[in-house]
């Protein structure tokens, strides 16, 4: 085993474990911090897959943006002193059952499909390709998603804003 592979599996284990913490932790704040680890792990996978731009984007958007948002969400919906309080959960058995079913489905698909890694590309920076693509072939989705983002932004601001006459 090469060092890279060792590292890979190490990261994989860490990622999966932290994802497990996200899933099973009864304290929301723990989940949030575990999610951080998961997301960073994913960024690492992206590096392995030669997606340099995405790895950076992952860190910046997910870790720097979404996660912070989520943590804010946690903070604002729970008083500081009860962040450690156990949150109520649905039925563990049923949830596990659902998870298992999903696992079975995915497992079946993964192991039954004949994956042929047909292409093996040399690793090279993808940023310029991505840039070219979103301004050519992916221009329309790009524009649409921009508008969507804008809309979501405005919507979020509108929703989260306190009405003047409310309190």
């Amino acid at each position: 085993m090469e060092a890279t592979q060792v590292l890979f599996w190490f990261i994989a284990v860490v990622t999966i474990l932290s994802a497990g913490i996200v899933a099973f932790s009864s304290k929301l704040i723990h989940s949030a911090f575990a999610l951080l680890a998961t997301l960073v792990g994913f960024a690492a996978f992206y590096v392995y897959l030669g997606a340099d731009f995405l790895a950076v984007a992952q860190i910046m958007i997910y870790v720097g943006g979404i996660l912070i948002l989520i943590i804010f969400g946690v903070m604002m919906t729970h008083r500081i002193y009860d962040t450690s309080k156990r949150t109520a959960h649905n039925s563990l058995i049923l949830s596990l059952l659902g998870g298992a079913a999903m696992a079975a489905i995915l497992g079946m698909i993964i192991f039954r499909s004949p994956w042929t890694a047909t292409v093996f590309k040399t690793l090279k920076p993808t940023t310029s390709m991505i840039g070219t693509s979103i301004l050519t072939n992916y221009l329309l989705p790009f524009e649409v998603i921009s508008v969507l983002l804008l809309g979501a932004l405005v919507g979020a601001v509108y929703l989260a804003r306190r009405e003047e006459d409310e309190e």
Binding site: A51, A57, V74, V119, I145
Partner: protein
């Protein structure tokens, strides 16, 4: 060399954990985290396929859009959650049943 299947399995495990999170948590923020997990696992799949199967990087591009989508979704969802909390001092989704019946 790391096999494609490795990524798929990791992704699948995270996906399953995401599903489990959604099913298990009552807390809206928790559910949101589950969704993020699912989206990330999907992203991983896309990027992996882009690396191993596609001749171009279409997977990466889709992943970019998903990330943006996730960001929007998180923003809106959190806004809704905040509103919800403000209204009833609780983020328990099982209690959100005004529109039932």
């Amino acid at each position: 060399m790391i096999q494609l299947e490795s990524y798929l399995i990791i992704s699948a495990i995270v996906f399953v954990l995401g599903i489990f999170t959604i099913l298990y948590k009552k807390n809206a923020v928790g559910i949101l985290m589950g969704v993020e997990l699912i989206l990330n696992s999907v992203n991983l799949n896309f990027i992996a396929f882009a690396r191993y199967i596609d001749t171009y990087i279409n997977g990466q591009l889709v992943a970019i859009f998903i990330i943006i989508l996730a960001a929007s979704e998180a923003a809106v969802a959190l806004a809704i959650i905040l509103n919800m909390y403000r209204d009833r001092r609780s983020v328990d989704v099982t209690k959100m049943d005004e529109m039932k019946n």
